[in-house]
Symmetry: C2
């Protein structure tokens, strides 16, 4: 088999988010998408039931949150636990890998929140040009 025939799933290839077909780009997108980042950051605070998570991630629709959680569960970042209570409820929490990712996202969020005055000043300068 020639090199150009190597499937992109070849486990000997190094993951590279800059390559458009690399699966690592999808995983990156799932934790950095509009709702993925916020869902991961919320779950870093502790497990959430669906409704409470939706209130925490202010503005997300039921459908988008369900889809986001499904992607994060598929990637192995989020654990979905159905509790056999009456009525049954579903709880979401981070897996160990999810915790590692959420930690980095939380660092990014903290930085941005703390530098909002600088960001707002930059935006004002830009808009006044």
């Amino acid at each position: 088999m020639s090199t150009s025939d190597q499937p992109i799933d070849d486990p000997t290839l190094e993951a590279d988010v800059f390559a458009r077909d690399c699966h690592s780009r999808d995983a990156l997108l799932n934790v950095t998408g509009r709702w993925g980042t916020l869902a991961m950051a919320a779950l870093a605070e502790g497990p959430y039931r669906f409704g409470a998570l939706r209130r925490r991630v202010d503005g997300v629709s039921e459908r988008m949150l369900a889809q986001t959680l499904q992607q994060l569960e598929r990637d192995g970042f989020v654990h979905r636990e159905v509790r056999e209570t009456i009525p049954p409820n579903v709880e979401y929490s981070l897996t160990p890998l999810g915790e590692e990712i959420a930690e980095r996202l939380a660092g990014l969020i903290d930085l941005l929140e703390s530098r909002m005055p600088d960001i707002a000043a930059a935006q004002n300068r830009y808009d006044a040009r």
Copy 2:
């Protein structure tokens, strides 16, 4: 003025990405959007001219990259320098704040790239259910 009339631009309010109207959520979206993350991570490698950056961020359209860079420049994360050469060229680089953000994004990307085997295994388990 009653509390509920406070404008969201009130500088005494703490930034909170979980609040749907907080400007920090927009700044977060700009560095975590589909192309923002990759553009920031690429610029962490050093300054890029537009065409070279577009080749590095494999798959981005000219229009999307231009829009992404404009948002990042407006937020004060990216510096755009027009060089008066013949022909003139435009170079993009990170600002000091951009460097801090890119460092955290790079940490996230490194983690995801290194854990792709675990992620792929989780996806296979999920899809086999």
